[in-house]
């Protein structure tokens, strides 16, 4: 690892100010992506601003069906939140299947969303739930937030402080995990609203990161059942192809994971 300067912030304002003064700083949340990347010398921030001790970024609040998850909430906290499980158990189950227990004790929802790994789980949930990403300076809808591979709408120095969404009538996430890393080789989050509106978001498969699938959404809005998926075409053209799976294989996984998710919702 290259040399770096560590700072511990105790408020969002302090973190933003430290970052503004840094040459090439990076925020540090759970570090479960950033520290391994620095160990490989694939990142070399001059400064690290630790967000783990900022009280305003912690906590999960559920009011009726309105949910607010502080960005510094760990995967373990989301997985085991009884309040969240009562209105949206799908996101708890998603969090419970990220990596391993030790990673879940450190890794955070804010860090995962900011990183926007094309195989990460949370981006699919945020997009399907039509979540709002709250930052220190504005609110961004998930549809505008995830802009490409490891790319987001975040500006320099902008901090995700929380995410907000309305818990839907039904939701479920199913992933086909890579047998070695447990990241999603394909993961599908389905949501059905009270008014019958459906959103389907896919992670792990798109060569440009997480995406919605209009064909699956239309078919499931017309007929909310696993069978509705059978006749939908999933185009493999823009899907990832690598040593783990070809694009055609992933296209099929999109359908299989969607069916399983609808059955589980």
């Amino acid at each position: 690892m290259y040399d770096t300067n560590y700072h511990r912030a105790s408020s969002i304002d302090e973190a933003v100010n430290i970052m503004a003064a840094a040459a090439e700083g990076k925020y540090l949340s759970g570090g479960m992506t950033l520290i391994p990347t620095m160990k490989q010398r694939l990142a070399a921030p001059s400064d690290l601003v630790d967000l783990r001790h900022i009280a305003e970024m912690k906590g999960i609040a559920v009011d009726g069906r309105s949910v607010r998850i502080g960005a510094a909430s760990t995967h373990e906290e989301v997985a085991t939140s009884a309040a969240l499980a009562a209105v949206c158990p799908a996101i708890c189950r998603l969090a419970a299947h990220i990596g391993d227990p030790h990673v879940r004790h450190m890794g955070t929802i804010g860090g995962s969303i900011a990183n926007n790994d094309p195989a990460a789980d949370y981006p699919a949930a945020m997009l399907a739930l039509d979540a709002v990403i709250v930052t220190d300076r504005r609110e961004i809808s998930a549809g505008d937030f995830f802009t490409g591979l490891f790319e987001t709408a975040l500006e320099d120095g902008e901090i995700i402080t929380a995410v907000r969404f309305e818990a839907p009538a039904r939701a479920a996430y199913q992933k086909f995990p890579n047998p070695a890393s447990r990241y999603a080789m394909t993961g599908v989050f389905v949501v059905r609203r009270d008014d019958g509106g459906v959103r389907v978001a896919v992670t792990g498969a798109g060569s440009d990161g997480v995406f919605r699938h209009p064909g699956l959404e239309a078919a499931l809005a017309a007929n909310w059942s696993p069978d509705a998926v059978a006749n939908v075409m999933v185009d493999a053209t823009d899907l990832l192809s690598d040593l783990h799976a070809s694009a055609a294989y992933r296209a099929n996984l999109v359908k299989v994971m969607t069916k399983r998710a609808v059955a589980a919702a």
């Binding site: 040399d3 511990r8 540090l28 570090g31 690290l48 391993d100 030790h102 450190m106 447990r182």
Partner: protein, 162 residues
């Protein structure tokens, strides 16, 4: 350079280290506690697992400065009064180790698992929760048996105490 202070195995310790020093290197090199191992450079093997403020973490992927002010338990801090911790005893009784390289991390992981699940632990949960710990020798079978036996014993002890 940073001067950091933390509690390790119940004792307050201080030391000087670079900001980039990993917690595992601080534990092994500054404190001389070499029971915590490094088995990979990809955050996947779990040989480095320690307890930080009541939760298992991978000390190879946390900076020592991040852990400043926290309370750490390493494998050396488990046994009391010269007696093996029940999880250590169960690994011994069930042959849960061969070369022993993964064992400190396995034992710390097992302690954390039992903390969260108590005697409700079942085999499927143990196997799923060993996702972040790799063993090159045992084929996991005896590790799983040891963890289940320790969970039953510790759960039983808890009931007896109630």
């Amino acid at each position: 350079m940073a001067k950091i202070t933390m509690t390790v195995n119940g004792r307050q310790v201080s030391g000087l280290c670079d900001d980039r020093t990993l917690l595992v290197h601080f534990i092994r090199e500054n404190l001389g506690l070499t029971g915590t191992h490094v088995g990979c450079d990809t955050t996947q093997c779990g040989a480095c697992v320690v307890d930080m403020d009541g939760q298992s973490v991978k000390s190879c992927s946390i900076l020592a400065v991040q852990a400043a002010g926290s309370s750490i338990t390493t494998i050396e801090g488990l046994s009391a009064n010269g007696e093996l911790h029940p999880v250590q005893a169960a690994f011994k009784a069930h042959h849960g180790l061969q070369c022993g390289f993964c064992t400190p991390g396995m034992v710390m992981t097992a302690v954390d698992m039992i903390r969260r699940h108590g005697s409700n632990l079942d085999e499927a949960t143990v196997r799923a929760e060993l996702e972040g710990n790799i063993c090159r020798c045992t084929g996991y079978h005896n590790i799983v048996q040891a963890i289940l036996a320790a969970a039953a014993e510790m759960g039983g002890a808890r009931h007896a105490a109630e």
